[in-house]
């Protein structure tokens, strides 16, 4: 039984393939098209999924789209009817998209699949392709629960908006999932956070993690204002937004003039200076978001009585909020779908069809079913070597042990290393196969990486990858965090207590806050990735080797890309990125490339 899941036409389109209940391939379209958050039909992702498994489009038992287009269209019409006569501009844009394409999604999918199959549409239709549709939050819930390592669990999904729902609480047990509660549009935690992302001058549906990174530099001075004026928050985690402060229903912006008056000025222009007020606003919305996430998690616990919680939806990428839920102690176990955003909807849609439509069995073992999220394209050493030879690029081919030692020593000496191995990660995080690595013990690593390698804002923090069994020696983290989706405090004993007084905001950027300063954020938190040998053997071995060299089983792990570009997929892209930046070493499989620098 082969089931293809698709998410597309909003942002982060992706495809995922399940064979007899096992997830065998998943990839985001942006990695092929090099257009960040690409929303177009994931043709190349589908081709990859089929190619990886040796299947033809005709071999698919079902193609599952991750949301219900007519329900979404209904919500749009209701919105215009509620807001008219305002909203013509938005109506015109939306109707052109919907009447031209989105309303005829089944035909569109058929046409695209026929193209992939190399058939005429009429001939492809005769193969009776089964095209199914799940609801948006059902896809998220399925992506959170079915691949999780739990027999039963509470499931909480939170994002901008799907059809009507903006958040849901579900109960998963065996191969069944039941949605218990939904929060209806326009009251949305995702849209609330995105409104502040817009107000702070970052890109909507993209810059939310920058707000999270900026938050520790501020004070929560506006938290009460948000809670008192922008919303009514109930004890059960549900809330209602005061829509007068927002403009996302039919307007061209996220926030209204009333919102700007409340927070003391117009939205920050992108790339302009970040002031203390911006940092305070970021901290305030982060705090409010965490409070809402906590209340929702409590309600999920009350409704299900489960010990384990699964999370998905874009808001579940808020690792600080996830860390707060874990710290609360309501749930003993927490599992977050690594592609928690809309890309993961492709995985969820396929799983929902397998378990609910086809009544497929579900097995639970110690590990989750995401296989370290290493589900994308991979390349052999021979292929890479032939590329390097053809282009006259000097390299060294090393045995594994030699390679790990050379890389560890270079990292210890302060080199920044591009690390390209095996299958590409599915989801927004690089987890040790398309990563840029550096030494976390050096104070200057953060600014070097931000300004010379990633070309991004100086305040952005970096994440540590740590040997799973050594994580308790560095972080207050009671569970494993293989997908870098939990923030945890650095242990007190590792912190550096002495700080220069009188500094505030970004002036505190260069404080040495712990013995692993490059990955210790201003509030002593870190977005931890725990690494075990079952999920990524080679990355685990590298961390062990680095520990032998430096005494620290921790590395800085950031995604292999530069600002504004998706993570690299192929060795060619990795090499181009290596050339464009000030990385010192590039490792492609077992091949080591050093950057030749002109002598001073």
């Amino acid at each position: 039984m082969n089931i293809l899941g698709i998410s597309a036409f909003y942002h982060d389109s992706a495809a995922a393939l399940i064979r007899n209940g096992r997830l065998v391939a998943a990839v985001q379209e942006e990695r092929f098209t090099r257009r960040k958050h690409d929303e177009r039909f994931p043709e190349r992702s589908i081709r990859f999924c089929l190619q990886k498994t040796g299947l033809q489009p005709g071999d698919l038992d079902a193609i599952v789209f991750y949301e219900k287009p007519l329900l979404k269209f209904e919500r749009l019409l209701h919105t215009y009817l509620a807001c008219a006569p305002r909203g013509f501009s938005s109506f015109r844009k939306a109707m052109q998209a919907w009447l031209g394409k989105k309303l005829f999604l089944k035909d569109d999918i058929t046409r695209e699949m026929a193209r992939i199959a190399g058939m005429k549409v009429r001939r492809y239709r005769k193969t009776n392709p089964r095209i199914l549709f799940t609801e948006h939050h059902e896809s998220h819930a399925a992506s959170a629960f079915f691949p999780s390592p739990f027999e039963s669990a509470a499931v909480l999904t939170m994002d901008g908006v799907g059809e009507w729902a903006t958040a849901s609480i579900a109960h998963g047990s065996g191969n069944r999932l039941k949605i218990l509660r939904e929060l209806p549009f326009p009251h949305s935690l995702g849209l609330l956070y995105t409104a502040f992302t817009y107000y702070l001058g970052f890109r909507v549906n993209s810059g939310e993690y920058k707000v999270m990174g900026l938050a520790p530099y501020g004070e929560p001075r506006y938290a009460d204002t948000i809670l008192d004026r922008l919303m009514t928050l109930h004890e059960d985690g549900s809330f209602r937004l005061n829509i007068e402060y927002f403009d996302y229903l039919v307007g061209s912006t996220m926030t209204s003039r009333k919102f700007h008056d409340l927070f003391g000025g117009p939205p920050r222009m992108p790339e302009s200076e970040l002031t203390q007020r911006h940092m305070d606003i970021a901290r305030s919305i982060q705090l409010v978001t965490e409070e809402i996430m906590l209340k929702m998690a409590r309600e999920a616990h009350r409704l299900t009585g489960e010990k384990s919680l699964c999370l998905a939806g874009g808001v579940a990428l808020n690792c600080v909020g996830n860390g707060r839920i874990l710290k609360e102690g309501l749930f003993q176990n927490l599992w977050v779908q690594p592609a928690a955003g809309d890309a993961g909807g492709a995985v969820g849609a396929a799983y929902a069809a397998w378990h609910h439509y086809f009544d497929g069995e579900r097995t639970v073992s110690g590990d989750d079913h995401m296989q370290g999220s290493l589900l994308g394209p991979s390349y052999g050493d021979d292929e890479i070597e032939s590329f390097l030879k053809q282009n006259g690029i000097p390299y060294q081919k090393l045995a594994e042990e030699e390679l790990l030692t050379a890389v560890s020593q270079a990292l210890f000496g302060g080199s920044v290393v591009g690390w390209f191995q095996g299958a590409m990660e599915f989801g927004p995080r690089a987890l040790g196969n398309r990563s840029i690595l550096a030494n976390p013990c050096l104070a200057e690593t953060q600014s070097v990486l931000n300004l010379k390698i990633k070309f991004r804002e100086s305040f952005r923090p970096f994440a540590p990858a740590v040997l799973e069994e050594k994580a308790p020696e560095f972080f207050d983290l009671p569970v494993a965090s293989p997908y870098m989706l939990l923030a945890a405090p650095v242990l007190e004993k590792r912190r550096n207590g002495s700080h220069p007084h009188g500094l505030s905001g970004l002036e505190r950027l260069h404080e040495k806050r712990s013995d692993i300063p490059a990955v210790t954020h201003l509030d002593y938190s870190a977005r931890v990735q725990t690494v075990n040998p079952r999920q990524n053997r080679r990355f685990y071995d590298l961390l062990e080797n680095f520990r032998d060299v430096s005494g620290y089983p921790v590395l800085v792990n950031t995604s292999f890309n530069v600002r504004g570009e998706p993570i690299v997929r192929s060795y060619e892209e990795a090499y181009q990125c290596f050339c464009k930046t000030e990385m010192d070493l590039l490792v492609l499989g077992n091949l080591l490339l050093r950057k030749e620098r002109p002598e001073a």
């Binding site: 599952v64 219900k68 287009p69 007519l70 329900l71 209904e74 209701h78 919105t79 215009y80 009817l81 509620a82 008219a84 006569p85 013509f88 109506f91 015109r92 109707m95 052109q96 999604l105 089944k106 199914l132 549709f133 799940t134 059902e138 849901s168 609480i169 069944r176 999932l177 039941k178 949605i179 218990l180 509660r181 939904e182 929060l183 209806p184 549009f185 326009p186 009251h187 919303m231 009514t232 109930h234 059960d236 985690g237 549900s238 809330f239 209602r240 937004l241 005061n242 829509i243 229903l249 309600e299 929902a352 069809a353 609910h356 439509y357 009544d359």
Partner: protein, 78 residues
């Protein structure tokens, strides 16, 4: 030949522009002659297309409990 090609490109562009203008005009009429009056009348009659009221008493959660094993729900677009 060059001139013909340039003319055809221009013709296509003009056609596209005309198409866009036509669809915008149709949507304009649809919005202001259908959506707006319908919204006005129904709202006057008390219909709440979307409940905006921020001070809603009680929980904001909607209770669900659909049978997700029902196969036809996956075959529908709604």
């Amino acid at each position: 030949m060059k001139r013909l090609r340039a003319f055809l490109v221009l013709w296509k562009k003009m056609g596209q522009k005309a198409g866009e203008a036509f669809s915008a005009a149709v949507l304009f009429l649809a919005y202001f002659l259908c959506v707006c009056p319908w919204a006005f009348v129904t709202r006057l009659a008390g219909k709440k297309w979307i409940d905006f009221s921020p001070l809603h008493p009680g929980s904001g959660w909607l209770e669900k409990g659909d049978d997700m094993r029902e196969k036809t729900r996956y075959e529908r677009l709604f």
